[in-house]
Symmetry: C2
Subunit: 368 residues, 2 copies
């Protein structure tokens, strides 16, 4: 097992990365303060890992909420089910909420922990590659609103993250690819060497080799932790983590939450950001091509949906939280392995990117 | 105008106390970061102050949510109306939410500010004495759940509090008294001299004399700020601010939210805490009597409802958030002007307090 510390002064916490960690009682209870544990999971993950986890926590009062699986349930109504369960089972301020699942479970359980009695302890047990490399670091929690994604939430840090590589064996291929999209993102925004490592080692990740996977998770978390430590509440720098996300959120909203996986939308969004960066002469045609090829080899979409017009994009990006005082801000590449944040967007180049990155109507959507 | 600073390092903020402050444009916009303002108020306060406030903010994009008045609407569903409004009017991360109203408006607007896009700026414009002396300091925000009061919320500090004494002229007498209950609380828990000032000057407060009122608000806020500065997230000491609240919450829950005003329930709860403190020989019979008399002179209830049995209390206190690992913790007086927190409660004395502090069936409930 390797342990990485996310350095946030009095809110610092460890990320444990290794195999069979969900079977390690000592590790699981190390960060539990009192005798109550509340596990939040979903109906896909519960049959796989929940009974063994409850058994392992023998001696604790363990209660659970099993959410319906999917981004479409990430809302205030479903969140309230967690509060109902906590209050019905009389969990008090010293309880520990465990999030057993992917990003949606982590976002909701973390937000519930942030709000329950104005804040209780929280441990993340991510079961997807995406949640291991994305939600594990940064403290972003929250739910969606019908008018925008992640519009209601909190910055809230966990006591610990326990990333068990063994659970990735059961991850559906489409979700594995979605996670790899975020892994590639770290190479693009801050770590060219890692990008090149991914070009060489992608087959091992697709084959779920635990060593390669642990390396990719650790290096992604390190990259993210460096950025977050310097900007915990997204004042400025941290926004580079949103490479591809402004375009990606527009795609997710347009297609309906959960139709495209988050990582898939981010992949297409990163191609759009890279395409625009190339038109601004920040990266070469060859580099753009390498980015597109790596995402394609990871079985990720590299085009926006055929059904989305430039106007759809602009309108959906208008309500996005990355908009400051009505101006569009985007994360682009300043070179391969380095990102910049700019609100100085050439409208004509942006239109060219919309045109170049739009799928034709014969392109199959993700998951088809 | 007097200004008091609540000292919380990078979350420090001023409380401005004076007359006609809601007509002072410079003061109102001093703490507004960008060009969007979102005012949350209720349908009782809106007709009195909202049009003038909107007019004063000429040049800003001002949008509003007018909530139905009352504690019974302090829930997630009503909170969502604020999010709907913010998103429909496209307020971004630099918006400022203003809470124009009493404690319920402040709690909800503050929690909305804590959660909207994971945190936006927030200014309190309290219109009741209770919210001036209680909600202004401490950063507690949140909503109720059907299974418990204030169970969902956040610690979130405002940019500023603007307490305009002039608005207290329109405050209904019952709400004035409810506010005085919390003012008296500060005397009881940490400021015997202030308690004695209140014994002498209560008539001026009941007559709404602006000078006396400003002094009481300032001294209450100072007392609270001292406690909060030493324990922002309610690790220990801060719990003394809850004198009377554990009993009081039980009363509010039993009677139905909003039937007793919060301050009324706290008044009866403080008598119970004082009664138990007397049985533990921490205060004299004469001091207990002075406390009861001061509350009575302020037209506050000094007995629990006749309909509430000791078992009702115990059951309702069991789900209260002041319970740690299943044990009852109470705030009691160690002497007049000093509080202590204890989980070492003599069950027989507690039962005696329940018996001594229960109204008979001929006692009129508050507001009758």
């Amino acid at each position: 097992m390797q342990t990485l510390t996310v350095d946030l002064a009095d809110r610092s916490y460890p990320i444990h990365i290794g195999e069979q960690l969900l079977k390690n009682r000592e590790l699981l209870v190390r960060h539990v303060r009192a005798k109550q544990v509340y596990i939040v999971t979903n109906d896909t993950i519960a049959p796989l890992y929940l009974p063994a986890l409850i058994e392992l926590l023998d001696g604790y009062q363990v209660d659970t909420t099993v959410l319906p699986d999917g981004e479409s349930f990430k809302n205030l109504e479903t969140l309230n089910q967690i509060f109902d369960g906590l209050l019905e089972a009389r969990h008090n301020r010293t309880t520990t909420i465990m999030a057993l699942g992917g990003g949606v479970v982590g976002d909701m359980a973390g937000f519930a922990a942030a709000c329950y009695q104005r804040g209780v302890d929280f441990i993340q047990l991510p079961t997807t590659l995406l949640s291991m490399v994305d939600s594990s670091v940064g403290g972003k929690t929250g739910v969606n609103h019908r008018l925008g994604k992640n519009m209601i939430g909190a910055f809230y840090q966990p006591q610990a993250v326990i990333a068990d590589m063994s659970v990735l064996e059961s991850l559906p291929p489409r979700e594995l690819s979605a996670g790899i999209a975020e892994v590639i993102k770290y190479g693009l925004i801050s770590d060219r060497e890692f990008f090149e490592w991914l070009e060489s080692n992608l087959p091992d990740l697709l084959a779920r080799d635990p060593k390669a996977m642990a390396y990719a998770v650790k290096r992604s978390c390190e990259n993210k932790a460096q950025v977050v430590a310097r900007d915990e509440r997204e004042g400025g720098l941290r926004a580079i983590l949103n490479l591809g996300h402004t375009f990606g959120h527009a795609i997710e909203t347009h297609q309906g939450y959960g139709v495209w996986l988050h990582g898939e939308a981010v992949a297409a969004g990163m191609v759009m950001a890279a395409d625009l960066s190339h038109r601004r002469e920040a990266i070469t045609a060859d580099e753009l091509d390498r980015i597109v090829r790596l995402l394609e080899r990871a079985h990720l979409p590299v085009k926006a949906p055929a059904s989305m017009t430039p106007d759809d994009f602009l309108q959906l990006m208008g309500v996005d939280k990355k908009v400051v005082d009505g101006r569009l801000r985007l994360v682009l590449l300043s070179k391969l392995g380095e990102a910049l944040i700019t609100s100085d967007i050439e409208q004509d180049l942006l239109q060219e990117t919309f045109a170049a990155c739009r799928a034709d109507e014969h392109t199959a959507p993700p998951g088809a």
